[in-house]
Amino acid sequence: MRQRNTGQRTGLLMLMLLLSFLLVVLPLAAYGESGDGPGDTQGVFKPLGLVSATLDDGASIVDTENVPLKPKITMHFDKNVVYLIYWERNKRCFHLYDENGKELALKLSKIDETADFSKRQYIWAEPVEALSPGTGYKLYVAPDLLAKNGGSTLSMSTGNQGVTIKFKTAGEKPAIHTGSVVFTENAPAEVATGKENTAPAVAPVKEQSSVAADGADGLAKSDPAVNENQNNEVPPGGDMTPSEAGAAEFAALEHGRRAQSMVAVGGGILLVGWVAVEVLRRKRRKG
């Protein structure tokens, strides 16, 4: 009888040891795969995402046709994006392009978290000069946009693409604004090859499904002359478009996400194991 009890106890201990082993090994395997250091900015962070982009009246600007010529766009993110320490970096992530790919000056504003904590997820973007009527524009937010935690970037929720919000201003297009004139001067490569509207559609904005995520490379290839139109508020954006280093960072983040999935699966296995142990125990007691 005693021998039977000892056998059962040993079996139970072995099972527990196995579970403990899983508990330690699975996360470690995930940790090893991702190459993440604890506390490093390559740790597992929740992705930063754009919640909405709206006009003053609260209507979404995404794919809207009658946008005022001097719109104040309220961009709502799901994390703190106004952190003082990263603001100089973050404000370089916002770019406004007209339909010919010419970059326009953009005035960005924020309310600092130390002044009003509830506004820490909002950035307001406004063109410095009035937009042309009846013209299509693209507001591009680069994937490098960084949240206060120092690890969550927009690239994590947009597949390293950033967010492109397309809209069209109200009114009739002036006759002098023929696309081809400016097109030859400042148009990015993707526009020049007529690929502007064929970019793969991703929907990083949660409330809309029609936001296109353009290939950031296309923007990186834009004519340097574009930068002449920048004001001090938004410095040239070429340096903030994804580079090779950005791609490496994205790959690391992908690893992190894969690790996260592994850990979730591991957690599931542990949970099932736990239920199995409890069921076994109960059966043995009844037996």
Partner: protein, 196 residues
Amino acid sequence: MKDMEEEKTAADLENPADNFIFHIGLADVIRLTMFGTLISVSRFVFQLPVGIPGHTSVYWMGLLILGKGLIPKFGAGAIMGIVSGILAVVFGLGKEGPLLVFKCIVPGVLLDILAILFLQKLESIWVGIIIGALISWSKLLASIALGVILDIPMVFLAMGFGYATLLHVIFGAAGGVLATVLIKRLKPRLASSWQS
């Protein structure tokens, strides 16, 4: 007296699993380890992009109180905190690095103390609210302490402290309420099979 000690030692030798750590049996320690794991896993699975400080307290504090309510032994909270802390560090959750363990242990230890002060009545909704809110707030305080250690400017730690406290208290209390409901339902069912 000596005889009693010898008897106890003999009993321990005979069944080491019943007195594993903090006078908690091995089976209970394993169960608490599972709760600790669930806390860390839940932080992965429920990655709600709500952007409200302290919202993780709903399931974090909920699971802590649930574990403590089902295994009402001193040290249960600490064990869950240690396990969830170690896993959180290994997972790389957050930017605090190894110091993250501290943030996870503090609510667990406080839970052990508060459970004694509230006579282990964790199935009471009011007790759940109070304990959930207080341990959630202790998490916030631990975060601020870590911020000081990690040289985060004081201005970012002090500003919005009231708002953050209010939200942590609300979410912690919500977690406490959920836990008490679950304790009430689960405890009678597990009472017979969970005796180690």
